[in-house]
Amino acid sequence: MRNIFLVIKREYLVRVKKKSFLIMTLLGPLLFVGFYAAVIWVAIGSVDTKTIQVLDESGLFRNEFKDSEALKFSFIEGNLDSAKVNFRKADANALVYIPENVIKSPKSVRIYAAKNVSMDLKSEIEKVIEKQIEDIKLSEAGITHKILEDSRVNVSSETISLSEEGEKTSSSGAATVIGGICAFLIYMSVFIYGTQVMRGITEEKTSRIVEVIISSVKPFQLMLGKIIGVALVGLTQFVLWILLTTALTSATSAILSNRIPKDAVEMQQQMEKVQKGMPNQNMPGNNVENPMAEVLGAVNSLNIPLILGCFLFYYLGGYLLYSALFGAVGAAVDNDADTQQFMLPITLPIIFSFVFAQFVLRDPDGSLAFWTSIIPFTSPIIMMVRIPFGVPAWEIALSMVLLVLGFMATTWLAARIYRVGILMYGKKVTYKELAKWIFYK
């Protein structure tokens, strides 16, 4: 036991003291937060006010173009040619020309601009014009504004029941996000830390230190010590990432919130509405579209301690299961270049489970979801996808027991290959040979 502890300590300290660990630990959250900050910054930054001149010969749209934060409309008179000439002098971004017969030939609307017009702007303007033309055509057909309003109220009252249902769907939206994140983290960590175990073992083998070490430590102890040491490195990195990201996010949002006071207030109001399950009259049917509000509103309905506990269990279980196999590969080959042929059968189930995860997210209670979350090779990722949606306790228990048995089996298998492999130099190993090693006395 003392020796295992010594091995764990070395494996842990060597990795944690590395510059690359420090850099990854600092850079990870910085990149993460930096990326989002940049996205938000650009999104907000691009909202500079654009001035749009409208030459409305039909006179139907005077009250329809409403100024917003991003767009300012000014209506001009005269004919198109003079408007074009004036446009060049004026400090406007675009000129919208609506001809007199716009209702009959809606395609004749033109947008002139010094530079290209963004898709957003184009569709915004088109939407306004389309809606107005639609209204006019409806009234011409005898549908009055009153009827229109009534019909909209009806649509709205439908939305109330949808919204009540929406409480559920918004919760499943949050479950999707959290399940996806957990699955991704497990997927990444199995790969990153599994290959670290493999590299470490190949390094010991190629540097030939392994012979000295196993004259003092049992091969199994050395392997286990390495696996546990690297697992602790992974946990340390996760914890540091979570702490740093939290700190950085709150700092960044404090800075950014100075730039978006209005948006933040709006968002808050919206969130309150969603939480109360009230229909949003202003944007009928739209209130489920804000993912932020959705997640925050629904997080309370999720069982956070269960998710965290399971995440920890499945992270460790999945890592142990696969790192043992990665370790066996590391012991079987002489250098990193030879690992490819043995890596494939190990990486395939990991990649498959990540692909399956996309389907399971859509149908968390289907039979694909059930079986893949029970089988140890896919369960660490798939079960984490399912858990936020709620999974019967017996399924979790079964999956956990099988995962424990699974990693015990892979560790046993790996140890058999490991003890032979680490002393085998200069030989291209085949699968047949690996199988023989397993059954050596």
Binding site: N3, V7, E203, E204, R208, V212, I213, S215, S216, V217
Partner: protein, 304 residues
């Protein structure tokens, strides 16, 4: 008393037998040479003594007890393929290896300090192993082998990679360790080292032990009762009395010949018969070198 008793050890691998019913006794406090051509099974035996692998049949006794975990700290092992963690600092690495052998951190630190002074390598403590030259790495590895003051030190080709100065340094260390009562097992092909250092030898060839015992006795056993003489003149007068072979000119007028003494003839009688015939420059018994013994023993076994 023997520190190691190898009893009827057999070790098989998938397609060949590495050791075939080998029994060897290694006496305490001696330098023991384990000889044999490449692939004879030396490394397999060493790995079994180090408990890296186990024998398929037979047993090993350490100090009269069945070899087990508690003996690990009493054995120091320098493998032929040297290896250290490349990126680890020299000091950390030696501390780690010593602790694996059962020393506490403090004990290891104290012992390391005296070795660093002794080898004059104090400045290496914070260096990465990869920054050291090959010879320097060998020194570090040697320190790691003997740091925990083992009773039994197993050295596989200990001098390979050392320049003559450092090789001497290591040789003196080995002799000093022997003085302190350590037993040393040498595995080597270099017969001059065996000649110089070993008290006992065992020769393994094709998985079998073909020879073992004190070096002196083995040499005695391999003596062919032949003498050499360097002379001026002609040996033709002795031809009927002795078996003369390899008679040839060496330099100037001197010739050198090998003379085999028959049963019950003494070297003095040979000298008496030589004196009237030739002028003698030198005369002596042909004592087989370890190299001769090695070659003869190995060649006696036909290639399979």
């Amino acid at each position: 008393m023997n520190i190691i008793e190898v009893r009827n050890v057999t070790k098989e691998y998938a397609n060949h037998v590495a050791l075939d019913n080998v029994s060897i006794s290694i006496p305490r406090g001696k330098i023991f040479g384990l000889l044999g051509p490449n692939g004879a099974g030396k490394t397999s035996l060493i790995r079994i003594i180090n408990q890296i692998t186990g024998p398929d049949k037979g047993e090993i006794l350490f100090d009269g007890e069945l070899l087990g975990n508690k003996h690990i700290s009493r054995i120091g092992y320098l493998p032929e393929e040297r290896g250290l963690y490349k990126k680890m600092k020299v000091g950390d690495q030696l501390l780690y290896l010593a602790q694996l052998k059962g020393l506490s951190q403090k004990e290891a630190m104290d012992k390391l300090k005296s070795w660093f002074v002794k080898f004059d390598i104090k400045t290496w403590w914070d260096k990465s192993v990869s920054d050291l030259s090959k010879g320097m790495q060998q020194k570090v590895q040697f320190v790691s082998t003997v740091l925990h003051e083992p009773d039994l030190i197993i050295l596989d080709e200990p001098f390979s990679g050392f320049d003559p100065i450092n090789a001497n340094l290591i040789r003196d260390e080995i002799l000093e360790l022997k003085q302190k009562g350590c037993t040393i097992i040498f595995s080597t092909h270099r017969m001059e080292t065996v000649e110089e250092l070993c008290d006992h030898i065992a020769l393994i060839h094709k998985s079998k032990k073909i020879l073992d015992g004190p070096k002196r006795e083995i040499k005695e056993q391999f003596k062919t009762n032949t003498y050499f003489v360097e002379y001026k003149g002609s040996l033709s007068g002795l031809e009927g009395l002795y078996e003369i072979s390899a008679d040839k000119e060496v330099e100037n007028d001197y010739r050198r010949a090998t003379i085999h003494l028959g049963e019950n003839k003494s070297p003095n009688a040979l000298l008496t018969s030589l004196l009237p015939n030739v002028e003698i420059r030198s005369f002596g018994e042909n004592i087989p070198s370890m190299s001769d013994i090695f070659m003869r023993s190995v060649n006696e076994i036909p290639e399979a």
